[in-house]
């Protein structure tokens, strides 16, 4: 059975970016660079719809 792993790979990528953004958010917070905090927080929030979109698109690929 040949399966497509594209969805899993793409979602792994999204989760990796999630980790990076979370880490950067917390870092920037302690350095009191609040603009940067908001930026990475926003990125992290945006990644969720992206993940959901990938999931929906790849869900039915056999």
């Amino acid at each position: 059975m040949k399966r497509s792993y594209r969805g899993v790979v793409l979602l792994s990528l999204v989760l990796f970016l999630n980790i990076v953004c979370t880490q950067q958010t917390v870092n920037a917070y302690y350095y009191e660079k609040y603009e940067t905090v908001i930026l990475f927080c926003g990125l992290n929030l945006l990644l969720f719809p992206v993940a959901f979109w990938i999931y929906k698109r790849e869900r039915d690929v056999k």
Partner: protein, 186 residues
């Protein structure tokens, strides 16, 4: 009796007896539904998408506090507070106090006759209280042996990467007054 019958009746099984129980090449004989394996991948992707959601929600508080901080025009206002009388602290010694809040523990170190430094002493690694080690002439964190330079607050060893926030000091009639907390530069 039944055993003997089986062996005689199925010569193929007889040949393989003692090796593998039956024909299989992919160890998936226990998967019956047609797309059970692709369903597996699907629910895994669902889990990953959910994890992305958790990440998103978990950064929300940080963003909210940052937004609040920005709305408060950046520079917080500190009220001056007396830490101690100079006569009460000898050169090379340190005392603990709390600034700016009741629960923000801090450390005042007298490095020289006229040299005072104060830092918030929650370790920048995982918030253990950093103490002043007179023998080493350094600020030391007991938890994972983080070491900070008392002149600048910068971490010199161990896991911490960020300097301790420095407290701005002033002298007034033989007393040391805390007037604010320095912001990190750029």
């Amino acid at each position: 009796m039944g055993q003997g019958h089986n062996v005689n009746g199925d010569s193929k099984a007889n040949n393989k007896n003692g090796k593998i129980p039956f024909d299989e090449d992919n160890y998936t004989h226990n998967i019956h539904k047609d797309n059970e394996r692709s369903l597996d991948r699907r629910s895994f992707m669902k889990l990953m998408a959910g994890a992305a959601g958790v990440f998103a929600v978990s950064t929300l508080p940080w963003g909210a506090i940052a937004a609040k901080e920005l709305a408060g025009f950046g520079n917080k206002k500190y009220t001056a507070a007396k830490i101690t009388d100079i006569s009460e602290i000898k050169v090379g010694e340190a005392i603990e106090f709390a600034y700016p809040g009741k629960h923000d523990s801090a450390l005042l170190i007298r490095l020289g006759e006229n040299e005072f430094k104060a830092y918030q002493n929650a370790c920048t690694h995982l918030k253990c209280p950093v103490f002043w080690s007179k023998e080493q002439g350094e600020m030391v964190c007991p938890c994972h042996h983080g070491v900070f330079d008392p002149k600048t607050g910068a971490p010199t060893a161990g896991p911490p990467r960020r300097p301790l926030p420095e407290i701005v000091l002033e002298r007034e009639q033989g007393a040391i007054i805390a007037t604010g907390v320095k912001r990190y530069e750029a």
